[in-house]
């Protein structure tokens, strides 16, 4: 009878602590940084001002002072959590970097018009007449000479060897109109000069220049038997950095595209003009086109891959976190076991259970925090601005850099604390329930 009772009680307390753990992780994950900081301050005040708080502090002090004696075990918690955080932060930074590279290229007051149903520029073919019609729309901003600010653009692909492995990979060649520069004011020439209109000259984006061989200033490319010269390099701070730019008409001639283009990019009179612009194109029976703001065009292109990378990162980190939780549990149970005589003594001379719980939790959380910081620091050192490329929507390489940003680092730290919380809670509760008489006899 007594046995059942005890078993029921211990099952009850297990469920109770599981609920506490789940709830605190929920708070930890959802809470903004200032709430956690406030909680930390409150804890400090409690430790300084109340009697039981001071007890908790002194027990914690003893616990932390003994960490150097069990460095091996403590490093299991730190390194285990550092591994989880490093992998999570690296993958989240990859997703953030890809998203940023594509989305910085978009704005709400420029629109891209492609053939209906095309989705991407590489699939789209727009004949000359349609391109002119689109540019004549009343919502398109005009320059000082009264010309609509519109750039008929052509996206084509060339296979060039990559510097990293010498294998051919696709690079995007974008033919742009004369207004391309006013449409994308962020694009700066960083080396050499712009291509001359009507000439077989190209300028190379910063990212493409770093990834591909044979595209440096002064080098020549042979496309369909015609020779092109690279005369400059540009930096656009977005996905255009992965491209080579040239005059639309000359590119069209080389690729035998006649007077057709892939699409037209236009500057609107304002972000609010887009709906009227889109409606105007849709109601024109001569046109079969889709219009999107460049922001939504580039967001659509990055959404699938960055979502995939995020899901992957969180799945991998979750599995690793489960492993790390058990590592932390092992270490902290062992720590409690070695300190059981000391804890029993403290309890015997009048210390309450709460300071003991707080001290074990605090110790674990501190180790977890150290692990989180270590993992975040390693990733930051190795991967911040680390440049990679992958296949984008136009079947061409999109060059992007990992962005180990503050929000990404912060979510890594939160994961570390959550792992520490679970890893510390159960050993802490065991320490608190320790039988004083048994503990005192322990060797």
């Amino acid at each position: 009878m007594a046995g059942t009772h005890t078993r029921l009680r211990s099952a009850g307390s297990l469920i109770g602590s599981l609920i506490v753990a789940a709830a605190s992780i929920g708070v930890l994950v959802l809470a903004p940084w200032w709430l956690l900081l406030a909680g930390l301050l409150l804890l400090a005040v409690w430790m300084a001002a109340t009697r039981i708080g001071r007890q908790a502090w002194s027990v914690s002090e003893v616990g932390m002072a003994t960490i150097p004696q069990r460095l091996g075990a403590a490093s299991v918690v730190v390194v285990g959590i550092a591994g989880v955080v490093a992998v999570l932060v690296a993958l989240l930074a990859m997703a953030a970097g890809f998203e940023a590279a594509l989305q910085q290229g978009g704005s709400d007051d420029t629109a891209i018009v492609l053939r209906a149903g095309s989705q991407t520029e590489i699939n789209s073919v727009l004949d000359h007449d349609s391109a002119v019609l689109v540019a004549q729309a009343p919502q398109v901003l005009r320059d000082a000479q009264g010309q609509p600010i519109a750039s008929p653009e052509l996206v084509l692909v060339a296979a060039l060897p990559k510097k990293s492995n010498g294998q051919d990979a696709n690079v995007e060649i974008r033919g742009v109109g004369e207004h391309a520069w006013s449409l994308r004011p962020g694009v700066r020439i960083i080396d050499g000069r712009k291509f001359g209109p009507g000439l077989r000259e190209m300028i190379v984006g910063k990212g493409a220049r770093a990834q591909f061989a044979g595209v440096d200033l002064g080098s020549t490319l042979s496309l369909n038997g015609q020779t092109w010269t690279i005369v400059g390099a540009f930096d656009s701070q977005d996905a255009h950095n992965s491209e080579l730019w040239a005059d639309t008409d000359v590119v069209a001639a080389t690729y035998r595209r006649g007077s057709s283009t892939a699409g037209v990019t236009v500057k609107l009179t304002g972000a609010d003009a887009f709906d009227a612009f889109k409606a105007g194109l849709a109601s024109d029976p001569r046109l079969r086109v889709d219009a999107k703001t460049t922001r939504s065009y580039y967001t659509d292109q990055s959404a699938a891959l960055s979502k995939l990378i995020r899901i992957l990162g969180i799945t991998i980190a979750t599995i690793m976190a489960i492993g790390a939780v058990f590592g932390a549990l092992n270490t902290m149970y062992a720590a409690v076991a070695t300190r059981s005589r000391e804890i029993a003594t403290l309890r015997a001379i009048g210390f309450r259970a709460l300071p003991v719980i707080v001290s074990v939790m605090l110790e674990t959380m501190l180790l977890a925090l150290a692990g989180g910081l270590l993992g975040a620091a390693v990733t930051w050192l190795l991967f911040n601005h680390y440049t990679v490329s992958t296949l984008g929507a136009n079947f061409t390489q999109v060059v992007f850099a990992f962005q180990v940003s503050a929000p990404v680092l912060w979510s890594g730290i939160k994961w570390a604390l959550a792992i520490g919380l679970i890893g510390g809670l159960f050993p802490a509760l065991r320490a608190a329930r320790l039988q004083i008489t048994a503990g005192l006899r322990e060797l």
Partner: protein, 387 residues
């Protein structure tokens, strides 16, 4: 084997600790199984093509550009060429862009060049006779619950019909299978007739996406490839001809270095795992020093003590790891059943198991090495005295 029980009871001397360690090992190898399955899927896509006797000819500038159909008789006439076929990428969307699968327009003799695509003779004839006919791989048919006779509407992204409309509808007349499990991803393709495609499309008529050439003697593949490229050298449509394997490998490598990413993650995971289980084993041996001394006293040699400790750590990792890999197999099968080939994952088969078991034994030995040496070297007198 006769010591198995001894090792087993030593391992479960502290149940909680061993179970927690097992769960950590399990998590690590679950992850290994999943990631290696993804890596294998990419490696299979790159390297599993049945023979090097097929050549792929695409535009030298990029495979997104088309080639003139006039090359066909000229390639066919080259010595060493057995059969030539051609195809076009269509890029149609079924209902939603999320449902992505490859769809291509193929020439009459396409299935002659791909004998490993198993399509019954009756279905093949029907495919040729039905202008708007289409055949799909078995996995694809299963994914969308398609039956023979179904109408499959595709939204064109590149090629509108002459009327300007983007709607193309095909009649499902055949379902093909691929026998080699490594090539299962090839079952997620829809093929339709190139002649119908070329008649109906608004532009690009008379051009093909790529040529596929079957060579008579695979040892001559290189020479034939050079001869094909020589046909259009210095023209305005130069070609690049590679073996199918090289072409696929190059394409897959464009996604990024999957092997490197997987390797980096697994490196982090196993480094952590070695530290964690190493700590557990060190603790376990430290606690048992007197017991090991007793074993030595009753006649166990230094080597057998070493062996016992090593066996324990290997058993610990293999036990946890095997459960982890089993679980990974279940998860991969479930994912494949749910979303088909949309997520590139290979089945957790023999090769993944072999690599996994190799890693388990290796990690077990690394983890056990130091504690085992300690057990081997202990002096009975000191150990029994608790010094």
């Amino acid at each position: 084997m006769k010591y198995l029980q001894l090792v087993w009871s030593a391992m479960f001397r502290r149940k909680t600790r061993t179970i927690f360690t097992l769960l950590s090992v399990l998590a690590a190898f679950l992850l290994f199984g999943l990631l290696d399955s993804v890596r294998s899927a990419f490696a299979n896509a790159a390297g599993s093509v049945a023979g090097v006797d097929r050549l792929v000819t695409v535009s030298k500038i990029s495979f997104t550009l088309s080639l003139p159909k006039s090359l066909l008789p000229r390639i066919q006439a080259l010595p060493g060429v057995a059969t030539v076929t051609y195809a076009n990428w269509f890029g149609g969307i079924y209902q939603d862009p999320k449902n992505f699968f490859a769809n291509e327009a193929v020439a009459d003799n396409f299935f002659d060049v791909f004998p490993e695509w198993q399509l019954s003779a009756a279905e093949r004839t029907r495919f040729h006779e039905t202008r708007t006919g289409a055949v799909v791989g078995a996995s694809l048919a299963k994914r969308f619950n398609w039956k023979l006779g179904d109408k499959i509407p595709l939204q064109a992204t590149i090629f509108p019909q002459k009327s300007g409309a983007n709607d193309w509808t095909f009649d499902l007349v055949g379902i093909f299978r691929v026998s080699n499990p490594k090539q299962q991803s090839q079952e997620s393709v829809l093929y339709f007739n190139w002649d119908y495609f070329d008649e109906a499309r608004a532009f690009g008529n008379g051009s093909v996406g790529w040529y596929l050439t079957r060579v008579a003697d695979r040892n001559q593949a290189q020479q034939v490839a050079q001869a094909i490229d020589a046909l259009s050298a210095n023209s305005d449509h130069e070609t690049k001809t590679q073996t199918e394997q090289a072409f696929n490998a190059e394409f897959v490598s464009q996604y990024g270095d999957i092997g490197l990413i997987v390797g980096a993650i697994m490196g982090a995971v196993f480094f952590t795992l070695i530290l964690l289980t190493g700590n557990t084993m060190a603790q376990a041996v430290r606690e048992r020093i007197p017991e090991l001394a007793v074993l030595k006293t009753i006649g166990f040699s230094n080597q057998s003590v070493l062996g016992l400790v090593l066996a324990e750590s290997v058993l610990l990792i293999v036990l946890g790891g095997a459960i982890g890999l089993l679980l990974a197999g279940v998860v991969v099968d479930a994912v494949r059943a749910a979303v088909g080939e949309a997520v590139p994952m290979a089945r957790v088969g023999a090769s993944i198991w072999l690599r996994g078991l190799g890693l388990m034994v290796l990690i077990g030995l690394i983890v056990g090495a130091l504690p085992a040496r300690r057990g081997m070297r202990l002096r009975i007198v000191d150990a029994l005295a608790g010094r």
